[in-house]
Subunit: 122 residues, 2 copies
């Protein structure tokens, strides 16, 4: 039972909860990039990207080195490890609990019993 800092997790998950930021991270996974290059693929202004980068940096997911007027961004894997740790830890228990419930339903009602799960609205 590792103890994950609450605000670290919150910041990390919040940073990941945006498609633009995830795309930036995915791109950075292929190597360092400067801000303007990172901004290119997106249909939004540079200041918008600048803000996204600040969120990512605030969560510790990226770091930047300033070289003249060029800001080079690169990934920092630590917070992702924390997020991953939290998910991994819980996922196991959840699976167990989920499967235990499934077996319980199998046993009590049998495989031919009417479907008692809630309808999905996928």
């Amino acid at each position: 039972m590792v103890n994950y800092k609450d605000d670290t997790l919150t910041a990390t998950f919040h940073a990941l909860a945006d498609p633009t930021r995830r795309a930036i991270l995915a791109r950075l996974a292929m190597g360092e990039e400067r801000v303007s290059t990172l901004a290119e693929p997106f249909a939004m202004s540079l200041p918008a990207i600048s803000k996204h980068l600040k969120v990512l940096e605030g969560a510790g997911l990226i770091r930047r080195t300033i070289d003249g007027r060029v800001h080079q961004c690169r990934l920092a894997p630590e917070p992702l490890d924390a997020a991953n740790g939290w998910i991994e830890e819980h996922r196991k228990i959840w699976r167990q609990q989920f499967d235990r419930l499934a077996r319980f339903l199998e046993q009590t009602s049998g495989p031919d019993a009417p479907d008692n799960t809630k309808k999905e609205n996928t």
Copy 2:
């Protein structure tokens, strides 16, 4: 390279980016609970919890069975698998890239070279 639905990930990460919701999920990992029981530990109103549950349900992280006037909540592990998948997939590449950079710095500047990493503002 699995293809994760963008909005599923966004909804999942957003749902996880709140300490109250994570606490609810952690509690549900120990077994099904009704809404009022889930609300007890928190210093906030029932409607607030109700909203949190709706967010979790919207992200597919929990399901509920309505039994009379009692709503039983339980976990649904699928979206967490997706989130975990995204993180896992990227984390590997990030680590590689990170370690490659570290080795590169070792080689070019040597172990005794001056520290060229940016100062942390922890």
